[in-house]
């Protein structure tokens, strides 16, 4: 990673509004995410993994400037975009895009595929004529592997996997440098999932796009990511190149997560030692003191109960936030 990062997030904190402040109510908010820092190189995929409530989606939305950051800085392509507003923010949209989870609700059912895919070009004034837009749409649809007649049809006549391809074509229209993919394959069937993952990898290889790949499926993440960040209760607890994460996990939570994933191999699955952490994920409105994982952690010591561990370099590119473990 010698090239300048496409995206650099430092000390990001995001508050989540419990009530949005009505006529007579005060705003109430809790800290959903804090002290999140990472970098993303051009053409790299960073997998952002966590369970529900871990804040992974929130981080993705903050990077896209959909929700405001309470603290920290987001630098995109050398430009601080943390407080971008109005027209400047709208122009930024051209360079970072999103692929959403649910292929059934992420496409406007009343618009033809051609209008859906051409919309980014139109709103950014990138298509001079209808003819030009049509050509661009045809190219994009071909690029994502959809038949030529797709343009004139409505989303409902496509299967889930095809719809996700349409969503990807829409995101590609503006030739973005970064795509935030929020669980892009988790709503798809297993046999179709692989198609979409392969497509995303092809596009990255050909166009040099960076992905922030948000998911809860560790197997898919291992497959597509170059580096992986594990989140727990609003913190990054471990971040490392994928091989290190999967083969030499440092944080006890990462270890538990990996062991809990069911493997599609009966003999292996029966033989595996499973570390099932007791209890449930943290209620972010009332987080425990100290390390947020300590109530479920087999290694928890007194220090863990009092002081929150920082994300520290344990070896090479391997960072983890744990008092008791080193590489």
């Amino acid at each position: 990673m010698t090239a300048a990062p496409v995206l650099s997030v430092s000390g990001l904190a995001i508050d989540y509004e419990l009530s949005s402040g009505g006529l007579f109510r005060k705003r109430r908010s809790v800290s959903a995410v804090s002290a999140v820092s990472f970098e993303l190189a051009p053409g790299e995929t960073l997998g952002l993994v966590g369970e529900s409530g871990s804040g992974k989606t929130t981080v993705g939305r903050a990077v896209l400037r959909r929700i405001p950051a309470a603290k920290g800085r987001i630098v995109f392509d050398g430009e601080d975009i943390t407080n971008l507003q109005g027209e400047a923010l709208r122009r930024l949209r051209a360079r970072m895009q999103i692929v959403l989870q649910d292929p059934y609700t992420s496409l406007n059912p009343r618009m033809k595929v051609s209008s859906i895919v051409a919309e980014p070009l139109i709103v950014h004034g990138l298509a001079a004529s209808a003819e030009e837009a049509r050509t661009a749409v045809a190219e994009l649809l071909e690029r994502v592997g959809l038949p030529g007649d797709a343009a004139d049809r409505y989303p409902h006549s496509f299967s889930g996997g095809q719809r996700q391809r349409i969503g990807i074509a829409r995101a590609l229209a503006l030739k973005p440098a970064l795509i935030v993919a929020d669980e892009p394959v988790s709503a798809l069937d297993v046999s179709v999932r692989a198609q979409v993952v392969n497509l995303m990898q092809d596009l990255q290889r050909d166009l040099g796009i960076s992905y922030l790949f948000i998911a809860h499926d560790l197997a898919i993440v291992r497959h597509i990511s170059h580096r992986v960040a594990i989140m727990y209760a609003g913190r990054i607890v471990e971040i490392a190149p994928r091989q290190a994460i999967y083969e030499r996990p440092i944080h006890p939570y990462t270890e538990a997560l990996l062991s809990a994933v069911p493997v599609a191999n009966p003999k292996l699955q029966r033989a595996r030692r499973r570390i099932v952490p007791p209890g449930e994920s943290v209620d972010i409105a009332n987080p425990p003191k100290g390390c947020r994982f300590h109530p479920r952690c087999p290694l928890a010591s007194n220090r863990c109960r009092k002081e929150e561990p920082q994300l520290l370099r344990k070896s090479g590119d391997h960072f983890a936030a744990c008092w008791n473990r080193d590489a």
């Binding site: 949005s20 402040g21 009505g22 006529l23 896209l64 959909r66 709208r90 122009r91 949209r93 051209a94 895009q97 999103i98 959403l100 989870q101 649910d102 059934y104 609700t105 992420s106 496409l107 406007n108 059912p109 009343r110 618009m111 919309e119 980014p120 709103v123 950014h124 049809r153 409505y154 409902h156 006549s157 496509f158 299967s159 969503g167 829409r170 503006l174």
Partner: protein, 322 residues
């Protein structure tokens, strides 16, 4: 998962065909009540539009010779006045036909004004959200809790009675229901992923609203407006009955009921026919609106279809059994 997931995986094969209107008509014909309702609505609209050509007499023309004639099928009835005449010898049928004009105009204009006002407020509240939303919706609450009839009487007392005063006042007392509906749909549509995608693409708010949000509002709004129309017809009748609405020599159904009530015991037809016109119109609209509501909701439409199929199959089986 089951059912919904299922329909999701099944919807694809349905082509967006051009025969949609034809299938809607055949569905309407299957629902007898709604079809009759629509036929009656069309009849009333036709009569109102062509009142000068259709009505046998000038509704204001008095005739001392033909006072209080009963309808044609009664002992003293004549073919000249099918539904009889009133105390001034005016033809009741003609008055009903002309009254339809006033009633429908007031209803339509009021609905249009109230729906526009309500939609603007609802869109504003739903799209901006947060504090703006709270303030606007509390305004709606306040307006809803204020007795409508009192407001009408106050305004009429200040501005004087008349058709346009009535329209203005009824619009002001009926927009809230639209605001609530639109605000609800907008704020839920705002959360849908395709709206988020549109915003991330860089669509300006106006484009998001008109391209992505507004189309979702059209059919529920239309259904609501049609249902509300009946409320306006009834309100107009009530206010005219009280003497604050349409003023003679103009006429409306409510006014006719009001002026006929003094003769209730000697000439029942004066109250009955305009009253019947109100009841049947409101009923027809309700029947049709109910059908329309189901038809514009894909899920409800599927259910209705399946129920009809099941009934058909059961009948067929019974026939085989017998």
């Amino acid at each position: 998962m089951a059912a919904s997931d299922f329909t999701a995986s099944l919807t694809p094969p349905i082509p967006a065909t051009t025969s949609a209107p034809r299938s809607a008509i055949s569905e309407l014909l299957h629902d007898k009540a709604a079809a009759i309702g629509l036929a009656f609505i069309l009849l009333i609209v036709f009569l109102a539009l062509f009142a000068p050509l259709v009505a046998p007499y000038d509704p204001a023309a008095q005739s001392i010779m033909a006072r209080l004639k009963p309808p044609v099928w009664m002992a003293r009835g004549t073919w000249e006045h099918l539904l009889g005449t009133d105390n001034l010898g005016r033809d009741v049928l003609s008055r009903i036909i002309w009254g339809a004009r006033a009633t429908l105009t007031i209803g339509a204009v009021t609905c249009l004004l109230a729906a526009t006002l309500g939609t603007v407020v609802g869109l504003w509240a739903g799209f901006i959200g947060g504090r703006t939303d709270s303030v606007l919706m509390r305004l709606v609450d306040i307006q809803v809790s204020f007795p409508g009839i009192l407001l009408i009487l106050l305004v009429v007392a200040v501005l004087g009675p008349g058709v346009w005063t009535l329209v203005a006042v009824l619009s002001v007392t009926n927009w809230m229901v639209y605001a609530r509906l639109v605000r609800g749909i907008v704020s839920s549509t705002r959360q849908t992923p395709y709206v988020e995608a549109a915003e991330v693409i860089g669509c300006r708010p106006a484009r998001v609203i008109f391209r992505h949000i507004l189309p979702n509002i059209v059919s529920p709004l239309l259904t609501l407006a049609i249902l509300e129309f009946t409320n306006i017809v009834l309100a107009e009748a009530a206010v005219s009955f009280l003497g604050f609405g349409v003023q003679p020599p103009a006429t409306s159904w409510g006014l006719d009921v009001a002026s006929g009530r003094d003769y209730l015991f000697i000439a029942w037809w004066l109250v009955t026919f305009p009253g019947l016109a109100i009841v049947v119109t409101v009923l027809s609209i309700n029947l049709f609106a109910n059908w329309l509501r189901v038809t514009t909701d894909p899920e409800e439409r599927e259910k209705r279809f399946a129920r009809a199929e099941t009934a058909k199959r059961r009948r067929a089986r019974r026939r085989v059994g017998a």
